[in-house]
């Protein structure tokens, strides 16, 4: 399971295409991340030039000395088989979303439902990006949706390009794990 004893654990960044999983890991990793980016042919789903087809991998050391291995999944549904492979053994998951995407709430349900069974109960944090852009959904909308479904998970508004924002997501998750296990995660 999780390498808690050695103060080292694994978390997974997931969410739909373009939500910013690869960007978030690059923003905080202290090592040059492992990437599996290739040219994106599906410009109708997202106009970005590249997309993740394997996984992202990075690592950070928390202020308390705990080492976190950071994994990012692919976001496109045809790579769903990678989700459980990458999710195996994770101490928690961070679901990233883009608030300007029309289907963002449905996407949240999809990824939350896919990853809740893969991580310990309650070890889930949601990060919503681009909430200040025109036509974006408010992060409260995401929180209400989770609450209505009886799912307990913090929802934070973030810019995945900013290290401090991504660190806040990781530390929020580390706090949940610490509270649950009484372990020195943080």
């Amino acid at each position: 399971m999780n390498d808690v004893a050695e103060g080292e654990f694994k978390i997974v960044f997931t969410g739909p295409m373009g939500a910013g999983k690869t960007t978030a890991i690059a923003a905080i990793s202290e090592i040059d991340p492992v990437r599996t980016e290739v040219a994106n042919n599906d410009r109708m789903s997202h106009e970005k030039a590249s997309t993740t087809v394997g996984f992202d991998y990075g690592r950070i050391t928390l202020p308390g000395g705990g080492v976190v291995r950071l994994y990012g999944t692919p976001g496109q549904p045809r790579f769903r088989f990678m989700w459980s492979i990458v999710g195996r053994g994770a101490a928690g998951a961070i679901v990233l979303l883009d608030a300007t995407q029309p289907g963002a709430l449905v996407q949240m349900d999809l990824f939350v439902d896919a990853f809740r069974p893969l991580v310990p109960e309650g070890a889930l944090v949601v990060g919503v990006g681009r909430t200040t852009e025109d036509g974006a959904l408010n992060s409260d909308t995401f929180a209400s949706r989770l609450e209505a479904r009886g799912i307990l998970a913090p929802v934070l508004s973030v810019d995945v390009r900013r290290k401090a924002d991504v660190m806040l997501l990781v530390q929020t998750l580390a706090c949940i794990l610490e509270t649950q296990n009484g372990n020195a995660y943080a």
């Binding site: 599996t36 040219a39 599906d42 109708m44 997309t51 087809v53 394997g54």
Partner: protein, 132 residues
């Protein structure tokens, strides 16, 4: 899947004809040509397989092959061979303007050397086709 997701200038019918030649190799069951981001471009199958899923999983393996080659300081990934008790899968990069790979699934009747040789020849022909 939408055809617009595939690189537009790929002569798919001609590509499929080239894949068929691999089907003549003893033991070969399924041949799938796919883009680096996991879309099936053309396929040839002796039985009802799942070319679309092989394309997606094949593209992940291809990317992981590149990642571990880079990590180990080797030149870029070229070919991955997976051997199970009852078969072999070969995934090979196809040179050319479109980032594509070829996955070949064969059962235990296959001879690995013969398969690799045939795959290499098919890839060369595909690369030539893409460059035309």
């Amino acid at each position: 899947m939408n055809a617009a997701m595939r690189p537009s200038r790929v002569p798919r019918e001609l590509a499929r004809k080239l894949l068929e030649t691999l089907g003549d190799v003893v033991g070969v069951k399924t041949v799938v040509l796919f883009t680096a981001d996991g879309f099936e471009v053309a396929s040839h199958s002796a039985e009802v397989g799942a070319p679309a899923r092989i394309a997606a999983i094949g593209s992940s393996l291809s990317a992981l092959g590149s990642a571990i080659s880079a990590e180990a300081g080797l030149a870029d990934f070229d070919c991955t061979t997976i051997q199970s008790v009852n078969g072999t899968i070969v995934i090979t990069r196809v040179e050319g303007p479109h980032a594509m790979s070829l996955a070949v699934v064969a059962d235990e009747a296959v001879t690995l050397g013969q398969l690799l040789w045939a795959v290499r020849r098919c890839c060369t022909a595909l690369a030539k086709l893409m460059n035309e």
